[in-house]
């Protein structure tokens, strides 16, 4: 299993300078990827723009969206942006997409949230076929495509359209359940090979209060679940190692640990913890 680290693009008071330095330093430490989240109505950076900036200061790490809310974006524009970022970064993009859970993001974007599932299906089909049906470039194979979510719709989309699955976080047992559903859908739909399986978890080493406060705020839209997410924040090297081991045992291909505190020291501490 490979280990990635999140870019601090949604954490409080993360300056552009910090984000770039974080990317540079991640490149030199044992991380295989940089992951970003997507919020529109929040004090955060756009995921694809942030990854483009990170691409400019790195040459090795993969760049992963975990996830971009697909239906918020026009199919063709998203296709262009993703293909461009992939090409400009030397085929380093992994494009994780999902339908998103926040209606307010849709309202702010002026996009109907009703019917977003159907539009997401169309978008995924489009991303797989537009190179043959349109003149939109760059003409390159394009990024690896993952789909996130916990519903049977999501598992079906992974199997029908994607290269793999990106899980939204939780204990290894929860990841294992979702992974089994993904594999079941994959085999039922007659896909060849195996789906790529990505996981994620939050951490704050030595700064648990600040991390929890951020998670409560970030997940306030889920109501009472914000507390559960905050409670699951990994705050010790032992907790991180346990989770890493658990995910590895369940067949995760890449686990991305997302920071909850905008502090470069977090990256170093995590690198030391996973040694």
């Amino acid at each position: 299993m490979r280990l990635g680290i999140g870019l601090p693009t949604t954490t409080p008071a993360a300056s552009g300078e910090l984000v770039l330095e974080w990317a540079r330093r991640a490149e030199t430490r044992p991380f295989s990827s940089l992951g970003v989240l997507d919020r529109l109505v929040y004090d955060s950076y756009d995921p694809l723009v942030a990854l483009a900036a990170a691409a400019g200061v790195t040459s090795r790490v993969r760049l992963a969206t975990m996830v971009v809310v697909g239906p918020l974006r026009n199919h063709a524009v998203l296709a262009k942006q993703a293909a461009s970022l992939d090409a400009l970064s030397g085929s380093r993009l992994t494009l994780g997409l999902a339908v998103g859970a926040r209606v307010e993001d849709y309202v702010a974007a002026g996009i109907e949230s009703r019917g977003r599932g159907r539009r997401f299906d169309e978008q995924l089909a489009y991303l797989r076929t537009y190179r043959d049906t349109t003149a939109i470039g760059p003409h390159a194979p394009g990024p690896e495509l993952l789909v996130g979510g916990l519903s049977d719709e999501a598992f079906t989309r992974v199997a029908r359209y994607a290269d793999g699955y990106v899980h939204g976080g939780g204990p290894p047992r929860a990841f294992a359940r979702a992974a089994a559903s993904v594999r079941a859908a994959w085999s039922d739909l007659g896909r060849r090979g195996e789906p790529a399986l990505w996981g994620q978890a939050y951490f704050a080493l030595g700064r648990s209060d600040a991390g929890a406060a951020y998670l409560r705020d970030y997940y306030a839209f889920t109501g009472p679940f914000a507390e559960k997410v905050a409670a699951a924040n990994l705050t010790s090297p032992a907790a991180i190692r346990d989770l890493v081991r658990g995910y590895e045992e369940e067949g995760c291909d890449e686990l991305v640990l997302l920071p909850t505190v905008s502090d470069l020291e977090q990256l170093d501490r995590l690198a030391d913890a996973i040694g």
Binding site: A159, A162, A180, G190, K228
Partner: protein
């Protein structure tokens, strides 16, 4: 800390005890609307691991409870007067009244304030408390008061049940099944002290109405049940305690705490009584909540941790309970099973007991099952020792051929064939599947015509040149002793002309495609090409293609032929109203929609060998409203059986792109069970089965006859 507990059931009392024990400075009050000795219900059951948790949490109360326990280790399953006993289980039961008395005493001794006969219409009287615990049962007032926050969901089950006591002391957890002219009744009985047992009588709603029990009062109900189970009660009486028929309600809550209010036990969740876990879960809740409160002084953190720990556990029990309840609701399906298979089916109903872990508890009963299964011997007396392989490795006679075992492997190809021609890679993968131990190697859909391919790289059996390539594959498979190979013939219909399935499925080809046909002109996805409505002349051509492919399959030496009437491909598009809007003799009524698939079968049977089995894979559930229903699936299965199918493979979904199967290991097993029990025809089941134990359990329980295993070859 000041704690008010609403409800003096086992969960509320136990939490009060644990909190007071943890810190005698806590002020703990328990408020109960009933009298201390008022209780409904008879005995409650615990399993071994719960006993350990209770001992660890409070040794003093455990010591009291322990001496009052009735313990036993057997389950008796009685079908029509024949009993199968399974040993090695650990149960402990106690009279609910006794348990409450012990807990009340322990709570009082520790200084908990117990206030009985206090009706709480207004929770604001308790506002001064730091923590308010809703332990007031399945009809919780506390939950109702904060329903907006907890978002409770109440689901009523269809079956009817009634609780009794009896002065017969059973010596095992006893399930009695009594088929009657009205339907199946079952009794669940277990001892809980030296002189009494609990008896729960249950039946499904239709049976209950047919037996006229919807109008029965307490006395009439008791008289009916006493008469029905007289042999097992050995003329002992049933005892009533407000014993009236009810329907079980499963309680779940999206959230278990809100501010300083938290739900405990039945107020938070219930699980159908047929897995006997209500009191166990409730008391485990109390242990978890007390532990969380002990770990941190931060109330919100503690309540969150409690919820995080308990919710997933409870959800797993609720899933198992749902499966268990479903089993009992449909138990009449299995009335014709041999008693040992019937017993194994019951024991494995909720997914918690499997062939493998039952063998650890009770090797003898599993040995009996395996022996009976391997020989299907009418005599499986406990005394007659006969060692046999587990069900997956038992042979199966099927329409003139013998399969060495029940393993089916369907190795996936690369979608890179040229003009349908199998290649060296294909021979290798089928050969590997046979060497891996499959009794039957089965192909994925093989096209009966070039325009019946799913992708340009699909394998075909539509040219005479294909025969030679397939023959070499069949011969390779046959070199593994006993291995058999079946061909699955299909026509993609509106799901045709798509890209190779390496980066997705149902992605239309932009170049090199071909015109699509289907029952009606409905594209498969919004980006798919619109199919033409197939004409009757073209249908005749397709029938001819299938017949020719079947003839080639005989020439290639295949041992079995499976016709694909599933997954939204051409033949399946006729079956469902969702995809068939035809106005001719092939659309509309159920009979009309079945016409073309049945005609196909007739055409194929004309050319396919009469000495070798013919199978059909069909969609038994569209999983969308207006689609194929369970009742239709049963009728389709029986029509297929009448037309000579020796083997059926029911599948779900993919009729349209929006169908959503509940993906997970074994997701097709309930359908296989339904089709097998209703049609009496052997059934093959897939649905992402990855372990030998899953397969042994399914086969041993009579839910299917062959299992498609998903293995990395």
């Amino acid at each position: 800390m000041r704690i008010a507990v609403i409800g003096a059931g086992p969960a509320g009392l136990y939490l009060a005890i644990l909190m007071k024990k943890a810190d005698s400075h806590h002020e703990v009050v328990v408020v109960e609307r009933n009298a201390p000795d008022a209780t409904y219900g008879w005995g409650v059951v615990f399993s071994e691991e719960t006993l350990g948790a209770l001992r660890d949490a409070d040794d003093a109360s455990y010591a009291d409870i322990e001496v009052s326990f009735t313990k036993w280790g057997s389950i008796d399953i009685v079908l029509d007067g024949r009993t199968v006993r399974s040993r090695g289980h650990v149960f402990a039961a106690i009279a609910r009244k006794r348990l409450l008395a012990l807990l009340q005493r322990r709570a009082s001794d520790l200084g908990v304030e117990l206030r009985f006969l206090e009706e709480l219409d207004d929770l604001s009287a308790l506002e001064a408390y730091d923590l308010l615990v809703g332990a007031d049962g399945a009809n919780s007032t506390v939950r109702g008061r904060f329903a907006d926050a907890f978002e409770p969901r109440l689901q009523e089950y269809e079956s009817r049940y009634v609780w009794f006591g009896t002065d017969l002391v059973f010596d095992a957890f006893t399930f009695v099944f009594r088929p009657t002219e009205h339907g199946m009744f079952q009794a669940h009985a277990y001892p809980f002290d030296a002189s009494l047992s609990t008896v729960i009588v249950e039946c499904n709603e239709a049976t209950w109405r047919r037996a006229g029990l919807d109008g029965a009062d307490e006395d009439a109900t008791l008289a009916f049940c006493e008469e029905l189970f007289r042999p097992e009660l050995r003329d002992h009486r049933l005892l009533s305690n407000r014993s009236n028929w009810g329907a079980f309600v499963q309680v779940s809550n999206r959230v278990w705490h809100h501010g300083n209010v938290v739900l405990l036990g039945d107020a938070a969740h219930t699980a159908h009584f047929t897995i006997g876990s209500g009191t166990k879960l409730a008391m485990e809740d109390a242990v978890a909540l007390a532990a969380a409160l002990g770990r941190t002084g931060e109330l919100e953190t503690a309540l969150t941790e409690y919820e995080l720990e308990r919710q997933p556990v409870v959800e797993r029990f609720q899933v198992a309970a749902r499966l268990s309840a479903d089993y009992f609701e449909h138990a009449i399906r299995y009335a014709g099973f041999h008693p040992v298979q019937f017993a194994f089916n019951l024991l494995t109903r909720s997914g918690r007991i499997t062939h493998g872990n039952l063998a650890l508890r009770d090797a003898a009963v599993v040995q009996r099952l395996d022996a009976w299964f391997a020989e299907a011997s009418p005599d499986c007396a406990e005394s007659a020792l006969r060692l046999a392989p587990p069900p997956l490795f038992a042979p199966l006679e099927l329409g003139g051929i013998t399969l060495l075992n029940r393993i089916v492997l369907v190795p996936g190809g690369r979608d890179d064939a040229e003009a349908g021609m199998p290649g060296e890679d294909d021979r290798t993968r089928f050969d590997h599947a046979a060497r891996a131990g499959a009794g039957l190697v089965l192909t994925e859909p093989v096209a009966v015509s070039a325009d019946g391919r799913i992708t340009p790289g699909c394998l075909g059996l539509y040219r005479d040149e294909h025969v030679e390539a397939w023959r070499s594959i069949v011969e390779a498979v046959h070199r593994t002793p006993g291995a058999r190979i079946g061909v699955q013939l299909g026509h993609a219909g509106r799901r045709g002309a798509t890209r190779p399935r390496t980066s997705g499925v149902d992605l239309p080809l932009t170049v090199g495609g071909w015109p699509l046909v289907s029952a009606s002109q409905i594209p498969y996805t919004s980006s798919a090409r619109r199919p033409a409505e197939i004409t009757v002349e073209e249908m005749a051509r397709v029938r001819g293609d299938f017949a020719a492919a079947a003839r080639r399959a005989v020439e290639a030496g295949f041992d079995l032929l499976e016709l694909n009437l599933a997954h939204g491909y051409l033949p399946a598009s006729f079956l469902s109203r969702l995809t068939n809007a035809r106005a001719d003799d092939y659309g509309g009524t159920f009979e009309n929609r079945l016409r073309f698939p049945l005609e196909l079968i007739e055409s194929v049977r004309e050319t396919w060998s009469r000495e070798r089995p013919f199978a059909a894979k069909f969609t038994a559930a569209d999983l969308l409203s207006g689609g194929v229903t369970e009742a239709e699936a049963v009728e389709i299965a029986s029509a297929l059986a009448e037309h000579g199918c020796a083997l059926l493979e029911p599948v779900a979904g993919q009729t349209t792109a929006s169908a959503r199967p509940r993906f997970g290991p074994g997701f097709l097993t309930p359908l296989a069970d339904l089709v097998r029990s209703s049609s009496g025809i052997p059934v093959v089941v897939g649905g992402y089965l990855t372990t030998v134990d899953q397969a042994n359990t399914i086969l041993g329980a009579g839910r299917a006859d062959l299992c498609v295993l998903t293995l990395a070859l």
